[in-house]
């Protein structure tokens, strides 16, 4: 299992478009990727669940990656967060 925390810097938070891109990215991996913020969790491939977390600018999201390709997945997801959020 790999984990990392990321603080959102995009001023509008995770709204529809980034949530869509995030879900799309998460689908590339075999590993199960979970997001957690303030007690709410969401599977990263589920667009509606991600949006339901209502992540805003300044919030910190804990990302958990678990599965066969977790090394690669965690690295790429972190890169994705850095590039997009």
């Amino acid at each position: 299992m790999k984990t990392f925390a990321y603080t959102i810097k995009d001023e509008v938070g995770i709204h529809a478009r980034p949530a869509g891109l995030l879900a799309k990215k998460a689908k590339e991996f075999e590993s199960v990727i979970t997001l957690e913020k303030g007690g709410k969790t969401a599977v990263a491939t589920k667009l509606m669940a991600i949006m339901g977390m209502g992540v805003k600018c300044g919030d910190t999201v804990n990302v958990t990656v678990e599965g066969a390709d977790e090394e690669k997945a965690a690295a790429e997801m972190e890169a994705f967060f850095n590039a997009n959020l």
């Binding site: 799309k24 949006m51 339901g52 805003k56």
Partner: protein, 633 residues
């Protein structure tokens, strides 16, 4: 899937390659222009293996094949049909060029007038009321101070749009023809320049000044107030010259050479040739109509009542005061005015029928005030804004006018003065008010009834077959509910997701579905469910429906940047919602004015759970009409 087989079957059901004009494809569809749509067997097309849907839109027959396969089917298709690949633009052009000259002229007139309708409706309504007040005041029926400032100011306000109508038309028409609209406005200003004699004074004062063109003919120094056709023709010349010049003039001097030359050429040509030609035609028409109404037994009047509105389109009607004046001098009555009045009121009757029958808010909002304005004698809004656009109401309006005019002639109805038509003109017929009311009542009723039954139907652009169109008319939203159907959460035009001007949506990153160009600024729940998310910015809502479907409704593109301005949310996260319950209201005009596309994608975000998602074949949906259909995997 056998691509060749699929392409061959499509071609066969289209009525063969002879019936095909051109073909293109986008990410998911074949986009075809067909010569004769009657030869297309849509039912069979839809049943072909590989075809996911068929509909007609903007003159194209669109066949949904799907991403990744459409290009392969397309390659086979053009090979079989023996045509070369066309770009999407070419297909669009071919679609626009379809239709005969008459249809294209009508469409062009519509495109020119639709944007300026608010201006002429507002002016027309105030003007009708002002004319009536003025008339009654002159007769001592009411007592108002016509020289008072309020009357004067409103009077100017009311006729401003008509006095300077050519400028509005010049701007709009030049834009339609692809030229610079500001140059079009300047050209129109020239045609109604204050230094020219006002056209409305010609009938009473005669032509004040004219000059000779190479000794061949005379050009009158008269403005073109109230004229429609000359400025449209002038705009066409302007735009044509301008577009040609843009191509040949070197870019470095294009900015000043092109406007200068195109304005000079079109201005001179219009004033010395097009204008005088039109004046000559006008005089011919005037002579003709005066002769026409002398044909006895109401026959002449019948014909005149029928063609009157057409002459209004041509802009000849402002010359008609001459006829009224002449007749009053000769007989003490004008037999012309009742004919004109019948024709005007009849257009109002036709327009009213459209207003009542249409279910589209947009049509209604134009047609009602236009019809009212007609009843007060100002017909331009109804004729240009409504009747001519839908063609048939104009024809039935003309028939109503013919019947009314014929009656007037048979009853020998004449008006004691001129100045106003429509309801208030009853004051010109105080010697025979009942006859007058019968005349205009019959005219309006005939036009109304004909239009009601045969003249207008809300356009369902692409009915899949006659059955579904018929059932759509009687559908009660509550009646049908199907778990595998996504019902429209807002009213408007259906747009394919691939045509949404945003790659994230168009490429299906957020899921699959369709988009709606909203006609009304409200999103409702398409089915019972729960609000999974609603953004602080209130521009989008995520729903988890009771049938397990996750739906994202995103109002506009990039509207997150508006930060909630223009949006009102009626629900919050975690709320249970009932089908039809309002979720978000938004101010369409505000959002558009801020430069954001208002198009609203409706997306199934858990699209992977379904085997197939099909979009309705209707071009427009009302709330809770079927929008998407899913097939569970």
């Amino acid at each position: 899937m056998d691509y060749r087989q699929c392409a061959a079957e499509i071609l066969c059901e289209l009525g063969g390659k002879e019936n095909l004009i051109s073909a293109a494809h986008c990410a998911t569809r074949l986009r075809l222009v067909i010569a004769d749509n009657g030869k297309v067997n849509k039912g069979n097309l839809e049943n072909i293996d590989g075809v996911k849907g068929v509909f007609e839109a903007s003159g194209q027959l669109q066949i949904i094949i799907g991403t990744g396969t459409v290009n392969k089917v397309y390659d086979e298709f053009i090979a079989l049909a023996g045509i070369s690949a066309a770009s999407k633009d070419e297909v669009k052009q071919a679609a626009a060029a379809k239709g005969n000259i008459f249809q294209r002229v009508i469409k062009t007139l519509g495109d020119v007038f639709v944007p300026i309708i608010p201006a002429i409706v507002a002016g027309g309504l105030i003007m009708g009321i002002m004319e009536a007040l003025n008339f009654m005041a002159n007769r001592g029926i009411i007592s108002i101070n016509q020289s008072g400032y309020l009357f004067q100011i409103i009077n100017m306000l009311s006729n401003a749009a008509f006095t300077f109508l050519p400028i509005l038309i010049g701007y709009s028409a030049t834009k339609v023809f692809g030229g610079n609209p500001y140059l079009g406005a300047v050209l129109a200003m020239f045609l109604i320049h204050p230094n020219l004699q006002n056209a409305y004074t010609v009938s009473t004062e005669g032509v004040a000044q004219s000059f000779s063109i190479f000794g061949l003919y005379d050009v009158n120094m008269v403005g073109y107030q109230g004229h429609v056709i000359p400025i449209i023709m002038a705009s066409l010349i302007l735009a044509t010259v301008e577009k040609k010049l843009h191509k040949v003039v070197p870019e470095i001097i294009d900015l000043f050479v092109t406007p200068l030359v195109s304005l000079l050429v079109s201005g001179l040509l219009t004033f010395t040739f097009i204008g005088p030609l039109f004046v000559a035609i006008e005089n011919g028409v005037l002579w003709f109509v005066q002769w026409l109404i002398t044909i006895p037994f109401g026959i002449g009047s019948f014909v005149m009542g029928g063609i009157y509105s057409t002459t209004v389109v041509g802009g000849v009607h402002h010359m008609y005061t001459v006829i009224d004046m002449g007749q009053i001098a000769q007989y003490g009555f004008t037999y012309w005015l009742p004919i004109a009045s019948a024709a005007n009121v009849a257009q109002g009757g036709a327009c009213l029928a459209v207003a009542i029958k249409s279910k589209k808010a947009k049509v209604k909002s134009v047609a009602f005030p236009s019809a009212l304005s007609c009843m007060l004698g100002i017909t331009e809004p109804a004729i240009f804004g409504v009747n001519i656009r839908f063609v048939k109401p104009f024809i039935f309006g003309s028939i109503g006018g013919a019947v009314g005019a014929c009656l007037a002639s048979i009853m020998h109805l004449g008006a004691s003065a001129t100045g106003v038509t429509g309801l208030f003109a009853v004051l010109l017929h105080l010697h025979a008010p009942i006859k007058y009311i019968i005349v205009i009542g019959t005219a309006a009723a005939v036009a109304f009834v004909l239009t009601w039954f045969f003249g207008y139907k809300d356009k369902e652009d692409a009915p899949a077959d006659s059955k579904s169109t018929a059932s759509k008319e009687i559908v009660v939203p509550e009646k049908e509910y199907n778990n595998d159907t996504v019902y429209a959460p807002l009213e408007g035009k259906v747009v394919a997701l691939t045509d949404v001007p945003d790659a994230t949506f168009a490429e299906g990153v957020l899921g699959l579905g369709a988009a709606i160009e909203p006609a009304v600024g409200e999103v409702i729940a398409p089915a019972d469910g729960e609000i999974s998310s609603i953004f602080d910015t209130h521009h989008a809502v995520g729903l988890t429906l009771d049938n397990g479907m996750e739906l994202l409704i995103h109002v506009g593109i990039n509207t997150v940047a508006l930060n909630g301005e223009g949006f009102t949310a009626h629900v919050s996260e975690g709320d249970r919602v009932k089908r039809g319950q309002p979720l978000i209201s938004f101010d369409k005009d505000f959002i558009t004015s801020k430069g954001y596309p208002i198009i609203t994608p409706v997306i199934i975000s858990n699209a992977d759970d379904y085997k197939e998602i099909k979009t309705t074949t209707s071009a427009e949906v009302r709330r809770l009409d079927e929008l998407l259909k899913v097939e569970r995997g």
